[in-house]
């Protein structure tokens, strides 16, 4: 009762701080009470809370580099929770000083293995045909791209299927176009992204390796903005403006290669095109209540009339988010839906159909105080089907599982140690009426912890640990050729895949940039891999996946310089990733195991407003399974004729040899221009400047005797040009 009375007696002040001109939230604003040793910083949403105040009059001040300091007189009654939203005016100051300040504050809060980036600078780097977020991520430490022909990436030796991708909280499971070269994440429509290459927070789950979280960019100006960009493959249109009392953004992209090819040659129909739509609408009812609706759709279509080959895949999703500040607490309610499908058909001989949808509700409450607390829950209802007919062999897997998760996180500092423990619990339930033997249930606890000890203000050692489970499994027939995965949920006989992350490292934040070094160990207690050779259509449930275990370990590090004329990001990853599956008696390298990975991204301001961008990548060659012997056998369909000779191969132990090292240099020159009222930007990129022949695969041509070993290469020397016009 006494405690209750004490709690009632205290008062608090909370609110949001925004930029007066742009209405954008201001993070890391120092909010303090003059003449009282009490203060706090605003979080990423500009939100602050000062609690445990007694009744009385206070002078509340708001201070941040680059803005006018503002002080307001506040009168608090006993037990009152006052909401005070504040707008700050920008002052002329070097932009670099602001960045240094906000980076320092970000450094204090940053988790282990996290990378946060604004997309603006990325647009100036060489583009792999077009600027793409997933391609950019593959230059980060710990991240290795699968091939040039795929936007998929492996994180710290894990499979690409273990990465969770969210755009405005919409989960995307097949975000790739055209063999994975492009993703649905065009940089023009995004403001920033956060990437966690391990041990991500308890607010997220259902991915064994990493989390990529991107935001569709907010727009706050009264003016209508229209951008049109053309490259030799596609056109892109971005339109932002004010509509009713809110702001909207619409981004459209469509490839037009199919159109202009048929103009050049009327007899030839290019069989492929794709389009994307990303859009958002934001409305601020009051500084303490905001809504954001985001919608995304993408479609890829490949159709070859002659052989009746149809390949179609896409994503549709929306999220409706409510941000609400109530008393001193921040609430976010997210209602989301994501559906992704793939359909592959060759005449009436082969068809594969995989629609999956996720509908969900997530609530997150952040309670500020002497230590920050975050609680929430997430409910997801998955509905998936994998139906195929391959020359008459039919298979149908369907399931409608429910996943209910509760999560909590604490964030507090004891002297120089920032402690961030978290816990996530998941209850998975699958019931299939037709085949009750396939029903599955699972309850999992996922503890997570993140510790950061500050030796100095800009030097910290860190440790993180986390347990992760994954309830969706991917089927892919060819990791290098398939543009998408087929997804199925776990069912009886298989358990959720499971991994544990152990991370330790050191971070240093000099004035010119950042240096980071982390050692990681990732243990896979239970993983599943699809292997077509193992599949038996008469026993599909038991042979669809191979059960296995594995581990990956190593270190990744980066040095980045973010100020001055020269900016660069240099990263080095050394790792080992190996595993063992059913029927194998020894550990072998995993498909993603590339020992050395070095990347350098550089940006330099030249004369005449020209910007030079450069990307260099060097990695150890991918492991592959070699052919050690070949043998003849027969295929005897033709009645009354002798069987046809077919060659098959005896393979080495899985992934026991490697391709030669991979390296590639890309450069770009870009420049802003202004002609009367029209502004713009153009860039010329050259991919694979010295035309390195990076091996994609080896194969034997058995039509020749003796057979000839042939090589297929990845992307050769490719020039690319892009122009963007802003009206």
């Amino acid at each position: 009762m006494i405690l209750f009375k004490i709690l009632i007696a205290f008062s608090s002040i909370s609110g949001r701080v925004i930029d007066k001109k742009t209405s954008e939230s201001l993070p890391f604003v120092f909010v303090y009470i003059k003449d009282l040793n009490k203060g706090t910083l605003t979080d990423e949403r500009g939100f602050y809370v000062i609690s445990k105040l007694k009744e009385g009059k206070y002078l509340l001040c708001f201070k941040i580099v680059g803005y006018e300091e503002k002080c307001l007189e506040v009168e608090l009654r006993e037990g009152e929770n006052k909401i005070l939203n504040v707008e700050l005016n920008q002052i002329e100051i070097e932009i670099e000083k602001i960045i240094i300040y906000s980076r320092k504050k970000e450094f204090e809060e940053e988790r282990a293995s996290a990378v946060k980036r604004e997309t603006e600078i990325l647009k100036r780097l060489p583009k792999f045909i077009e600027g793409d977020l997933l391609r950019t991520v593959s230059t980060l430490p710990g991240v290795v791209q699968v091939t040039d022909l795929s936007g998929r990436f492996s994180v710290r030796g894990g499979s690409p299927q273990e990465n969770l991708t969210l755009i405005d909280e919409i989960p995307l499971y097949n975000p790739y176009h055209l063999g994975g070269i492009f993703s649905v994440f065009d940089l023009s429509a995004l403001s920033r992204y956060e990437f966690y290459r391990g041990a991500y927070g308890a607010q997220f789950g259902n991915a064994l390796s990493s989390l990529l979280y991107a935001e569709i960019k907010p727009y706050n100006s009264e003016k209508i903005n229209l951008e049109l960009a053309l490259s030799f493959l596609s056109f892109r249109l971005l339109n932002e403006g004010k509509l009713f009392k809110g702001n909207y953004l619409v981004f459209l992209r469509r490839t037009y290669f199919d159109k202009y090819i048929s103009l050049i040659n009327r007899d030839f129909e290019f069989p492929y095109h794709f389009f994307d739509i990303l859009s958002s609408y934001q409305i601020e009812k009051s500084p303490s209540l905001r809504f954001k609706f985001s919608y995304i759709t993408s479609r890829d279509l490949f159709y070859q009339k002659k052989d009746e080959i149809l390949l179609k895949w896409g994503n549709d999703g929306f999220s409706f988010r409510t941000f609400y500040i109530h008393r001193k607490n921040f609430h976010e309610i997210n209602l989301f839906f994501s559906s992704f499908f793939s359909y592959f058909k060759i005449g009436e001989f082969i068809s594969l159909w995989n629609p999956v949808s996720i509908a969900g509700l997530k609530w997150k409450g952040e309670f500020k105080g002497s230590f920050d607390k975050t609680f929430g829950f997430e409910y997801e209802n998955l509905n998936g089907k994998f139906q195929n007919d391959i020359f008459g062999i039919k298979q149908l897997d369907k399931g409608n599982p429910h996943i209910l998760s509760f999560f909590s996180e604490l964030n507090f500092k004891v002297n120089n140690l920032r402690i961030n423990p978290g816990l996530r619990t998941n209850y998975f339930y699958l019931r299939i009426k037709e085949t009750p033997e396939r029903n599955a249930k699972s309850f999992r606890i996922e503890p997570r912890i993140n510790l950061k000890y500050f030796l100095r203000e800009n030097l910290a050692i860190k440790f993180a640990f986390g347990v992760f489970n994954q309830y969706l499994m991917a089927i892919n027939f060819s990791e290098v050729f398939d543009p998408f995965y087929y997804w199925v949920t776990i069912f009886d006989g298989y358990r959720p895949m499971n991994s544990k992350h152990y991370i330790t490292g050191i971070s240093y934040l000099p004035d010119w940039g950042k240096i980071d070094f982390e050692i990681f160990y990732k243990k896979y207690d239970y993983i599943l891999d699809y292997e077509i050779k193992n599949y038996d259509p008469l026993n599909p449930d038991k042979t669809l996946f191979l059960k296995g275990q594995g581990e990956s370990y190593g270190f990744d590090s980066f040095i980045e310089k973010t100020f001055g004329k020269l900016n660069f990001n240099l990263s080095l990853t050394v790792l080992k990733s190996h595993g063992k599956f059913e029927k194998e008696n020894k550990y072998h390298s995993m498909r993603w195991d590339k020992t050395f990975n070095f990347s350098l991204s550089l940006f330099y301001k030249l004369i005449f407003n020209l910007d030079l961008g450069l990307n260099f990548l060097y990695t150890t060659g991918s492991p592959f399974t070699d052919v050690i012997k070949r043998y003849r056998f027969f295929y005897n369909p033709y009645p009354d004729r002798y069987p046809k000779v077919i060659w098959d191969e005896i393979e080495s132990y899985p992934y026991s040899v490697r391709f030669p090292p991979y390296h590639r240099l890309d450069i770009s020159l870009s420049r802003d221009f202004k002609i009367k009222k029209i502004k713009g930007f153009y860039s010329l990129s050259i991919i694979n400047v010295y035309n390195r022949k990076n091996v994609f695969l080896y194969y034997y041509d058995y039509d020749k005797e003796p057979p000839v070993k042939r090589e297929l290469y990845q992307i050769p020397f490719v020039p690319s040009f892009e122009i963007k016009i802003i009206f």
Partner: protein, 237 residues
């Protein structure tokens, strides 16, 4: 700095350590699939060795003693060179005889190095195509191709041949197949012949993933059997 270098070099050394695992490489490959129809058929056995990927192959291993035994009879196979549909020539052991359905057959091969392989396979039992009963069929239609169950058959393979322009293969674990729904398989009107083969377990696993059901490690291959039934009809579109 020196310590860091040593640490890095040690890590690199550990990381680059190659895992060399021994893969079993057999000396011989044997392929023998017995065909059981309602008549005498030429049965063939192919014996070969394995080759390096860039090695010029021979036509097969000659000088083997190849015998098939069932129902108290033993057939000794002879050698000859044959060529397939693509004019690839190879050496086979052959004999012509009637293989009854539902029996056990034994294959005995004595290789030139005096090693011996003995393998038994069971021929599935008889069956018949019972639908369609018409001589003319309109496609696409929901009519099914239906046949009786063959005991001992693990899987059924359906071949569809139009001598003019097409040859397609389909599979069914059941005793029916939705063949006439698949308009793409019938490109033109005309006479088509369908072959349904009831394959035994040995042949099924070999065709599925070259799964070896021979116990000896020095030989890889298949000794399997199937029962075949045919039916012709006229397709109208």
């Amino acid at each position: 700095m020196k310590r860091l270098k040593i640490f890095l070099l040690t890590l690199i050394f550990i990381s680059c350590k190659k895992e060399i695992e021994k893969v079993i490489i057999p000396d011989y490959i044997v392929w023998c699939v017995l065909k059981s129809s309602k008549k005498f058929e030429e049965q063939i056995v192919f014996v070969d060795r394995l080759y390096s990927p860039d090695e010029v192959p021979s036509q097969g291993v000659s000088g083997c003693s190849v015998k098939i035994k069932f129902g108290g009879k033993e057939y000794l196979f002879k050698e000859k060179i044959v060529s397939d549909i693509d004019s690839n020539e190879y050496l086979v052991y052959y004999d012509t005889f009637y293989v009854p359905s539902g029996i056990d057959c034994t294959l005995k091969i004595k290789f030139p190095d005096s090693r011996e392989l003995i393998k038994v396979t069971k021929v599935p039992t008889d069956f018949d195509i019972i639908y369609p009963i018409y001589d003319t069929i309109y496609v696409p239609s929901n009519n099914l191709l239906i046949w009786n169950k063959s005991e001992g058959a693990k899987f059924y393979v359906i071949y569809l041949e139009n001598t003019k322009d097409s040859f397609f293969t389909f599979f069914s674990p059941d005793t029916f197949f939705d063949l006439f729904r698949r308009g793409s398989a019938f490109r033109s009107e005309g006479i088509y012949e369908v072959y349904v083969r009831a394959e035994n377990e040995d042949l099924y696993y070999w065709n599925l993933n070259r799964s070896d059901r021979i116990e000896e490690e020095w030989v890889k291959g298949v000794f399997g059997a199937y029962v075949e039934r045919r039916k012709s009809f006229y397709i109208k579109k």
